[in-house]
Subunit: 143 residues, 2 copies
DNA sequence: TGTATAATTGAAAAAGATTTTCATTATCAA
DNA sequence: TTGATAATGAAAATCTTTTTCAATTATACA
């Protein structure tokens, strides 16, 4: 029906082109994540995945998330409690604002921010290797 | 010797004024954290503390850190692996640049950044409640 | 279309960090 | 000093994430 490949088809191709095999469990996980509008934890993803793929193992969820992150398909969200959630990484590294209630996430950009971060690092004698910027709050629906 | 109260004396007063008792283990933990120049993990703090207070328990370290954070004396540092480290929160909430090698941390300010974050949140219909900005890299010594 | 091989899988166990439980000990107000 | 109660440390419990391992499966190639 759709002329252009769907997001999950693109992701599956990326996995395959990177030398990973396409398997049932992997397809299911990729499909859920590619269509996801909010941050999901591994366990949530596992529960959703089991509906499609009853035998799915939690370990496979972790392993697939790891690969998707490595390929830049998915972005890790760090939570205050130390656990992680995952979001589609639509357009490379972006900054996030996340609803503390429902997990809804939106992306925002700050063009000049990266330059600013590099400048700050330089002023302190540091070489910058990674940066995190996450905003937490309540979305329009939850407040 | 010192006319003005030391940092750790100030912290101990804060604890006491907040209704917490002053105990040996607590004093040791406070003294280490108040004098600390780099981010420490609970286990590191525990090891350092045991040198002063051999019977010290790891649980007490966690509980004391919790109280110090609650009182704004200490700031939690979120690590990529999900574990936490702690730093003196010298002047309220500040942004951090942390050495991935040695844990050395420096603070920086971005006066206009808080305003920017609020604006971003507003544009997305969010009410901002918390923000994280952490830079990771290598310090002058480690690179 | 088989077939070999190497990647992938899921269960169970292990590893770590953090929290809870609980009996004992210590602080501090009266 | 004493009594109420906060704080302590050990052990056990939780929870997330990782590792191990034998069985299964995708894929390249004959």
């Amino acid at each position: 029906m759709s002329a252009s490949p769907t997001m999950s088809e693109q992701w599956l191709s990326t996995l395959q082109n990177s030398g990973y095999r396409l398997t049932g469990p992997r397809r299911v996980i990729v499909e859920i994540m590619a269509a996801c509008e909010r941050a999901l934890g591994p366990l949530e993803l596992f529960d959703l995945g089991r509906k499609e793929q009853p035998g799915l193992g939690l370990v496979t969820v972790y392993r697939t998330l790891e690969k998707m992150e490595e390929l830049g398909l998915v972005q890790r969200v760090h939570q205050p409690n130390g656990c992680h959630m995952y979001l589609p990484a639509a357009r490379g590294h972006q900054h996030l604002i996340i609803c503390q209630q429902c997990g809804k996430a939106e992306y925002f950009e700050g063009e000049d921010m990266e330059a600013f971060f590099n400048q700050v690092a330089g002023e302190h004698g540091f070489t910058l290797r990674e940066h995190w910027l996450q905003l937490f709050g309540l979305c329009a629906n939850c407040k």
